[in-house]
């Protein structure tokens, strides 16, 4: 009879995707993974994109 192998450790539970009050935690984890400059560029992209939508233009980026 061979030596019993250790059972695979239980995988860590996934962190919650949403807070109890409905905040998307995945989005927060993603922005926290960015550098401050990347966060500012992300904000600029969102604002520019919304301005394009407001003006009825279609971005070709």
């Amino acid at each position: 009879m061979g030596t019993p192998t250790n059972p695979e450790p239980e995988p860590a539970p996934s962190p919650p995707a949403e807070s109890p009050d409905g905040v998307d935690l995945t989005l927060i984890r993603w922005t926290l993974s960015l550098t401050p400059l990347e966060r500012l560029e992300l904000l600029q992209d969102w604002v520019d994109g919304l301005a394009e939508l407001r003006n009825g233009r279609i971005s070709e980026r």
Binding site: L25, L32, P36, L40, L42, L43, L50, A51
Partner: protein, 170 residues
């Protein structure tokens, strides 16, 4: 300026730095730099009200051809007296919407909050940004609908940030 043009955050920050204005980034941009995924359409800064700084700030707003966002459509430009006495200046500039604040929340000034900031490097630029816990406090104190709307996201961001810091220390 074309009123439909969106704000240029880095351009505004670089203009403030070029004019050597003593300021703290506050509001939505501070929250975003601290990691909270929220959208804002203007740059809010808290400025120091020393006479020298007011001169530098006036020079900046003149260069940017700033005027107040007046609902009646009047053309009103900021001047030294207004910068000295008024608490809030909601301006439209060549680089988009810029809000100059001499106080935020419950009357807290640049001097009150300068110790609760983080120096962020944005490329070659270095700007002082109000830390997230102080952004949350200012929005709790202001307690307007638009402040209350973003508080859940800001609070959850702070919880996750603190969790990451705690894990890094372990």
């Amino acid at each position: 300026m074309d009123g439909s043009r969106s704000v240029k955050f880095r351009g505004l920050l670089q203009a403030l730095l070029r004019h050597e204005v003593d300021f703290l980034v506050v509001g939505g941009v501070a929250a975003q730099l601290e990691g909270a995924p929220i959208v804002t359409f203007d740059l809010d800064i808290l400025y120091d009200k020393t006479p020298e700084n007011l001169d530098r700030l006036l020079s900046l707003v003149q260069e940017l051809k700033a005027r107040y966002r007046d609902p009646a459509g009047r053309h009103i430009e900021p001047d030294l007296a207004k910068l000295q006495t008024l608490r809030t200046h909601l301006l439209l500039t060549e680089l988009g919407a810029l809000d100059l604040l001499s106080e935020i929340g419950a009357g807290r000034t640049y001097q009150d909050l300068a110790g609760r900031t983080i120096l962020y490097e944005l490329g070659e630029d270095r700007v002082r940004v109000l830390e997230l816990s102080a952004v949350i406090e200012s929005k709790e104190q202001a307690n307007r609908d638009k402040d209350r709307a973003v508080l859940p996201v800001l609070r959850q961001t702070l919880i996750l940030k603190n969790g990451i810091r705690g894990a890094e220390k372990r």
